[in-house]
Symmetry: C3
Subunit: 356 residues, 3 copies
């Protein structure tokens, strides 16, 4: 059981997924009911009536309040109890936790940790979301029966592409090309260029390249779980400098990894591109190719997760290409350990209590 980083913004879904309906979901093992107020604001509350534990998502909206479906205890959109049928007062302990939640760039983000530390300005963003030279397209949500560590690690691991995605994103030409790794603040980056090779499937289709290209893969992992994969191709004749990638066909594949439970993870993926702006057909074709590739990842990741549940006689080994995944895992362990230490000093976040 690895545990989770709690003090972080996680993606609950696309903004278009939520309306006034009481939608249940789970992030880092915490069950939430997510809905919009009549004013359209997104809200995330603990999905558990404090009385008999019925999920509030099984209750009903009465204006902007939620009435529990069992005994009618009612909560406002801040989680405060406003009615306890059968009595006049509302006990101090009759509340549900509220988790800070925001829409940003068409995406709903929820803060799973200490609300006092939630800073909405720290929600992931990048200038291309609001740049007319770029087209943003939301893909889908990939559900994976695997721990999030494996899912996220895979997104800072360019080396797997040659073997897992040979028909779409990779090819044998890249198998032994070295991977560079660097870190800057909360971003871990791993990248490589494959120079002067035939275009891979994706860029044969979307780049219109006939001859050899220079191809790049930059994996930027924003801790703890947002991956920005900058990949693209450019005619080899242009002799593209590393920092001049906008001159080529350039894609940002974004993955928002949401740990649901220790054994279940959702990856909301989308892309930004500097080509085929406004072309819905191109978007659909790219989604189709991404779906092929991500189904390949899912198969691998679920098999690895299953294997990890089996008793191990020998520790797994680490090899040269694991540099970025190793940095990622160490960072996660440090963040979780840090939060555990902080919780020790905070009596309201102490250990779990079993009721009976």
């Amino acid at each position: 059981m690895a545990g989770f980083v709690k003090n972080s913004w996680y993606v609950a879904g696309w903004s278009k997924d939520f309306d006034e309906t009481l939608t249940p979901l789970e992030i880092t093992g915490q069950r939430l009911v997510v809905f919009r107020t009549s004013a359209g604001d997104i809200r995330a509350l603990e999905d558990r009536c404090p009385h008999r534990l019925l999920p509030l998502s099984k209750g009903k909206r009465i204006g902007d309040t939620i009435q529990c479906g069992y005994h009618g205890m009612t909560f406002d959109s801040d989680g405060r109890c406003v009615r306890v049928p059968g009595q006049d007062n509302t006990p101090k302990s009759a509340y549900v936790e509220r988790f800070p939640a925001y829409d940003r760039n068409g995406i709903v983000w929820i803060w799973m940790g200490d609300p006092d530390l939630a800073d909405s300005s720290a929600i992931f963003d990048m200038p291309e979301f609001n740049d007319l030279n770029w087209h943003a397209h939301q893909g889908a949500a990939l559900h994976i029966k695997a721990n999030y560590l494996n899912v996220t690690e895979n997104l800072v691991d360019p080396a797997h592409v040659s073997f897992v995605h040979p028909t779409t994103l990779g090819s044998a030409a890249s198998e032994d090309v070295p991977v560079h790794v660097s870190t800057a603040g909360d971003v871990i980056s791993a990248w490589r260029w494959i120079r002067d090779a035939a275009p891979v499937g994706f860029f044969q289709k979307f780049g219109g390249f006939s001859g050899h290209v220079d191809r790049w893969h930059y994996y930027h992992l924003h801790m703890p779980s947002t991956a920005v994969i900058d990949f693209g191709s450019i005619d080899v004749a242009q002799d593209c400098a590393e920092d001049d990638r906008d001159a080529g066909v350039r894609i940002f594949a974004l993955h928002f990894v949401t740990p649901v439970r220790e054994d279940y993870t959702i990856d909301h993926w989308m892309h930004l591109r500097n080509t085929s702006l406004g072309d819905a057909e191109a978007s659909a074709q790219m989604d189709a190719m991404f779906k092929v590739a991500f189904a390949e990842d899912k198969a691998i990741l679920e098999a690895v997760h299953d294997a990890e549940q089996h008793p191990q006689r020998r520790k797994p080994i680490r090899i040269a290409i694991d540099k970025a995944p190793n940095v990622y895992r160490k960072r996660i362990r440090d963040l979780i350990a840090e939060e555990a230490t902080e919780d020790l000093g905070d009596p309201t976040h102490s250990s779990f209590i079993n009721h009976d």
Copy 2:
């Protein structure tokens, strides 16, 4: 794990459910084989051959004996071994436990505890079963994936009716009407009258009421798990006294809650009524309404059970309407603790032994 009260009569099913067939079932975690002898007597034996543990319910009847389906070890209807193929003697330990069992009012009851304490005169009964002014009708068996504590608690909880059964048994008119609670011997009662209100769905259909009625709900829980719900309606003009309920349309909904395992419970439900005597069509219509209502309970109870399996950071809170459930839970805890203390003094009921 709450455990079970063992020294109690539990309902195995309707008398009509059992014949000479070897029927497997489970009560309080004990697997039983239930059948009738050729004389029609109901018998309940441990469903486990003492040799290789095959359930006897997978064997076959030979007269009034049961032959195990694996090696032919044979037991009479008292659980005594009468044959061990391949040898002449029958070892002293070659027996299966017999559990006292009786038919009463068309219902099969089994005593799950110390046979020496079984008193068949203590089996639940009420005079209306044998009163020509009353009609008894057996409903069905509701299977619920939840602990029996939640199922039974729900049956001494009038407050949930307004919110869980708004179209059948309750209405908003009762939401804030106070609940009275009293105890007498092994019966916990919770009740309330809703005076001068429109009839609820059930009595619109069966009472033929057009104007306002006085409506009552009396929940009598006979420990540990039989609920008698006395509910009815009467024209408000009659100004009905609390003890004069027979003057109205009166129903006794009976629930016999059988704990199967910690996470599985069966509720055999039926009703007695002082109206539409002998009217099979009315019985069928009432069953249909009860099925709507009890499916609502099942959905709530299974969701609560599921939520209880989740780790809890805060204890559930208790509110004013929980008075009768609180009394019930304390009583159950006391009964289980009492039996545990008795078992300590009885070497034949000591701790569980694992074989291997």
Copy 3:
């Protein structure tokens, strides 16, 4: 958890089941990838890349090597790593275990223990495999959700036949006929003759007997898990001596019991016969009868396994007919204890390590 005997040859399947395809299977809790080399030799390797644990069976063949499907680490058919993409050297710990494996008499055998102790001359054999007076026919693989101890015990237990297989292999005539038990080396034998009785279903069909026969059942269990059941019938008039069984219609039913996990076992069964040589139709009819009988065993064994998972208040009892099963269970316990003692002296087989 009984554990497994590791230093033993177990059956992986029929020789015809394996080709160059990477076939995953599990024996004694060890996941294996089994395949043939281009030369046709059978190989069994640990089905776990030492890097990220992906089963190698999800990778691909490149000549006689296997390339992992995640990062392309490649292993030869001895389990040695021959390539780590992204680096020049191959770490010492980059290997997968190889398990000795052989074809014998159309059957694939794998040694699950210390390779230094594997002796291919000890693989089960019997002269009738290569005797022109005998016909060998491979049946099928019976999958049973039960511990292998129960499955194997059942194959040295003639007493169950009368009760579990009354229409095929047994009849009431044998219910009380005593069972003889003897041991010789690693073989436990239990047998009995049923003299002067009507032929059972099987020999009515294949023996062409009309009058009474002498019938024998010899169960030879070759430790730890190969059963040879020598059964047959002969006209009672011939007054057959015990050692003259070839004069009758004689069948060797072979069962190769493969423990997969503690709760899952596969029984590969086949037969040898001294009648209807080369008659495919007779083979098919015998298979059909065996399938009826073995489905009866499976139902019993799965019910027993399920019952064993239930808490037990009393230990199972043992009776006279259990003599051979008791010897078998003691032998298995002794073998497992012996291997555990040996492992203590061998640091490479110490305890399991959990990675994380």
